[in-house]
Symmetry: C2
Subunit: 436 residues, 2 copies
C-alpha cells in the first residue's frame, strides 16, 4: 500500500512517462492504483495515455472511475480517438457519454462516428491547419505561432482551402521555413494535390502511403471539401492490423485476436471455425469410407493417406500465402490471376515430380511393392498440382466474390487437398489393384 503522503511523488513520476508507457502501466496496474492514477493525474496526461490504448481496452481501464471523471477524460481525447473508443462500446452507453459531453465536443465526435471504421473517414483526424491562398507566408507564420498547440501537433502539411472549405492546394511545412516571408501562399503551394476520398478502404489507403511514402494525406468528401487528414503513423497501425488480419483470417481466426483477448471472446470466435473445419474434414473422411474395402484388402494404404493429404496441404499453403499477401499489398491485381496460376502450376508440377518420385520410391522400398509405390507417387504428384492450382484459385475466387481473399482460405485449401489426396490415392489404388 502506498502511503498517502507519497501520493504526489507517485503521481508525479507517472506524469513524466511517455503516454504509451503510461498506458501500459495502467493496463498492468492493480485496480486501486489504476483508479488513483486516472483520478489524480492531470487531465490531459491521463487522456493522452487513454488515447494510446486499443479501443476495446477503454472500458476495462476506466472501470471504477467516477462517471464525471470518465466524461472529462473522453472530452479531453482527440476527437478521432474518442470516436474510435465510442464506436467500440455499446450503443446505449455511447449515447449516455455523448449526452454528458458539451455540444462543442460531442458534435465533431458524432460527425466522425458516421464513417465506417475501416475507411479513410474512420481513421482520419479532424485536427488540421488551413490557410487561404492570398495570405502571405509571414502572416501565416504569425497566425500559427498563436494557434498551434506545440505539444500535440506534429504538423507536416498545411492545407489551402477556398471559402467553401474546398481543397485548392497544400503547403509543406518546410515551405514556411524556406519561402520568402513576403511570398503569397498561392505562390508556394502545391496545386496538384494527392488526396483520399472519405469512403476509401483503409487497406487501399495503406497501400498509397506505402507506395508513395507520404507523411499525411488530406481527406475530401464527395463535394471536394476538406473533412480530415490521415497521418502516416495512423496508417502504420492500420497496416499492421491488416497484416495481422490476413494471417488470422487464413487459419480461421477473427482477424482481431491478440494473446491478451479474454478467453471467452477467443473461444466464441474460434470454435465456429473449428466446426466448419470439422465438417470439411468429414468430407475427406467420407472419401476414405468409400474405399473401406480397398483399405481392408491392403491396410498399408492407410500409411500413405496422411502423407499425401498432408504434403499437398503444405505445398498449397506455400502458394496460398504468397497469393493472399500479394493481393493484400496490391502486388497482384485481380487481372493477374492467369499469370499467377501459370507460374504456380509450373512450380506445382516440378515440385510434384520431385516429391512424387521420393514418395514412390519410399512406398516401393518400405512395402516391397512397386505398385504401391507407383500409386502413391502418382497420387502425390497429382495432389501437388491440385494444391498449387487451388492455392491460386481460392483467393482469386474469394476476391472476385468481394470476400476478403484471406477468409478461411487455408481451411478451404486443406479441404481440397485432403479430399483430392484421398480420392486420387485410394481411387488409383482401387483401380490398379482390382486389375491385378
Amino acid at each position: 500500500m502506498a502511503d498517502d503522503s507519497q501520493r504526489p511523488l507517485f503521481i508525479e513520476e507517472h506524469a513524466r512517462l511517455h503516454p504509451v508507457d503510461l498506458a501500459d502501466k495502467l493496463l498492468r496496474a492493480p485496480d486501486g492504483e489504476r483508479i488513483k492514477l486516472l483520478t489524480h493525474l492531470p487531465r490531459e496526461i491521463a487522456a493522452a495515455a487513454l488515447a494510446e490504448l486499443y479501443e476495446d481496452q477503454f472500458e476495462q481501464v476506466t472501470k471504477g472511475l467516477p462517471e464525471e471523471r470518465i466524461v472529462e477524460l473522453v472530452g479531453e481525447l482527440p476527437h478521432d480517438d474518442a470516436a474510435d473508443i465510442l464506436g467500440e462500446i455499446e450503443e446505449e452507453r455511447r449515447e449516455e457519454l455523448l449526452e454528458a459531453l458539451p455540444d462543442e465536443v460531442s458534435a465533431p465526435i458524432e460527425e466522425l462516428l458516421r464513417y465506417p471504421e475501416d475507411t479513410a473517414g474512420g481513421i482520419m483526424s479532424d485536427r488540421f491547419i488551413t490557410l487561404t491562398a492570398k495570405e502571405t507566408v509571414s502572416d501565416c507564420q504569425e497566425r500559427l505561432r498563436k494557434q498551434v498547440d506545440r505539444q500535440r501537433d506534429d504538423i507536416s502539411y498545411l492545407y489551402v482551402v477556398d471559402v467553401d472549405q474546398r481543397l485548392v492546394g497544400v503547403v509543406p511545412l518546410r515551405e514556411l521555413v524556406f519561402a520568402m516571408p513576403e511570398s503569397k501562399v498561392e505562390d508556394v503551394m502545391v496545386r496538384d494535390v494527392k488526396f483520399l476520398q472519405v469512403d476509401a478502404d483503409q487497406e487501399a489507403v495503406a497501400r498509397e502511403f506505402e507506395d508513395y511514402g507520404y507523411l499525411g494525406l488530406p481527406v475530401l468528401d464527395h463535394a471536394g471539401k476538406l473533412v480530415g487528414v490521415v497521418s502516416a503513423s495512423e496508417v502504420f497501425e492500420v497496416a499492421q492490423e491488416e497484416a495481422t488480419e490476413d494471417m488470422q483470417l487464413m487459419v480461421g481466426l477473427s482477424g482481431e485476436e491478440r494473446s491478451s483477448t479474454p478467453w471467452p471472446t477467443s473461444l466464441s470466435r474460434r470454435l465456429p471455425w473449428l466446426y466448419v473445419n470439422l465438417a470439411t474434414a468429414f468430407i475427406a473422411a467420407v472419401v476414405v469410407a468409400c474405399f473401406e474395402k480397398t483399405i481392408d484388402a491392403i491396410p498399408a494404404l492407410a500409411i500413405f493417406l496422411v502423407v499425401i493429404a498432408g504434403q499437398g496441404g503444405n505445398a498449397g499453403m506455400q502458394t496460398l500465402t504468397v497469393i493472399v499477401r500479394d493481393l493484400a499489398l496490391g502486388e497482384l491485381e485481380p487481372g493477374d490471376g492467369r499469370k499467377a496460376l501459370f507460374k504456380e502450376i509450373l512450380l506445382g508440377t516440378i515440385n510434384g515430380v520431385a516429391i512424387g518420385i521420393v514418395v514412390g520410391f519410399i512406398g516401393w522400398l518400405w512395402k516391397g511393392n512397386p505398385t504401391i509405390g507407383l500409386v502413391a507417387g502418382v497420387a502425390m504428384f497429382l495432389n501437388m498440382v491440385a494444391a498449387a492450382m487451388f492455392g491460386v484459385l481460392i483467393p482469386f475466387g474469394l476476391k472476385a466474390l468481394r470476400i476478403d481473399p484471406a477468409l478461411a482460405s487455408s481451411i478451404l485449401l486443406t479441404t481440397v487437398t485432403d479430399v483430392a489426396g484421398n480420392l486420387l490415392f485410394l481411387g488409383l489404388a482401387a483401380i490398379v489393384f482390382a486389375q491385378l
Copy 2:
C-alpha cells in the same frame, strides 16, 4: 514501334509520372522501350524511379543499358538506396560499380554497406540536416534556404550536434516556423532525444515507430555520434516486409517471395522445405505403420485418422498464428510464455471437449459402434489439447533458441499434431479393442 519523331513526347510524358508509377512502367515495359526510357529520361528522374524498385529488381530493369549510364544512375541514387541495391548483387559486380563511381559517391555508399541490412544502420539514410546549439533560429532559416533540396527532402526534424558530431538535441521543423527568430537553437531544441542504436534490429525499430508514432528517429553509433536517420516511410516498408516474412516463414517459404519472383528462385526456396515436411510426414506415417494390425482388424479406423490429425493441425494453427504475430509485434514478451500457455491450454481443453464430443457421436452413429466413437472422441480431445500446447511451446521455444519464432513453425506444429493424433487414436484403439 514508336516513331522516332515522337520520342521527345513519349519521354516527356513519362518524365511527369510519379517515380513509383514510372518504376511500375519500367517493370512492365518491353526491353526496347525500357532501355529507351532509361537512356533518355533526365538522370535524376530515372534514378528516382529506380530507387522505388525492390532491390532485387535493379539488375533486371537495367539489363541492356550501357555501363556508363548504369554507373551514372547509381551515382544519382540516394546513398541508402544505392547501398540497398549494391548489397543485393554479386560481390564482383558490386566492386566493379563502386570502382567506377567517383570517390565522393562511393565512400558514403561503402560506409552504409557495412551495416547488416536488417538493422537500423541498414535502413537508415545519411541525408539529414544538422544545427549547432549556439546558432539563432533566423541564422538557421537563412542557411537552410540555400542548403535544402526542396524537391527531395521531406524534413520533419533537424538535429543539433556538438563539434564531435555527437547528438545533443532535436529541433522539430515546426519550431523553425513558430519560434522567435532571435531565439537560440539550444533554447528551442528538445534535449531528451529518442534515438536508435545503429545495430538495433529492424523489427524492434518498427515497433518503436508503431508504438510512439515518430516521423523519424536519429541513429547513433556506439560513441554517440549521429550517423543517420530512419524515416517513418522507410520503417513502414520494413514493417510490411516483416509481416510478410512472418506469414511466409510459418509455412516454409523464404520470407521474401512475391508472385513476381522468377519461378526457378521460388522453386529453389520452396522445395527444400517440402522435403523437410515430407520427412516429418513420414514420421507420422511410421506411427500408422506400427498399428497396421489394428487397422487390418478395424479398417474403419482409417476414416478417422485424417479427421483427428487434420483437425488438431487446424486448431493448433489458430494458436500458433496468434502467438507468432504477438511475439513479432511485441505484444508478447519471452517472459509471458506461462500466461499464454495457460490461456491456450484452457481454450484447447474447452474446444477439445466441444469438438471431441461431436467426433465421438459421429463415430458412434456412423459406424454403429460406441467404442470407435469413444476412442475417436477421446483422441480428438487429447490432440486438441496437445495442439494448443505446442502452438505456444514451438514459437516460444524457437525464440528462446534465438531463432525467428515463425520459422517453419507450422511444419513443426503439424508434425506434432499428426504424430500425436495418429498415436493417440491408434494407440487407444489398440488397447481398447485388444481388451474387448
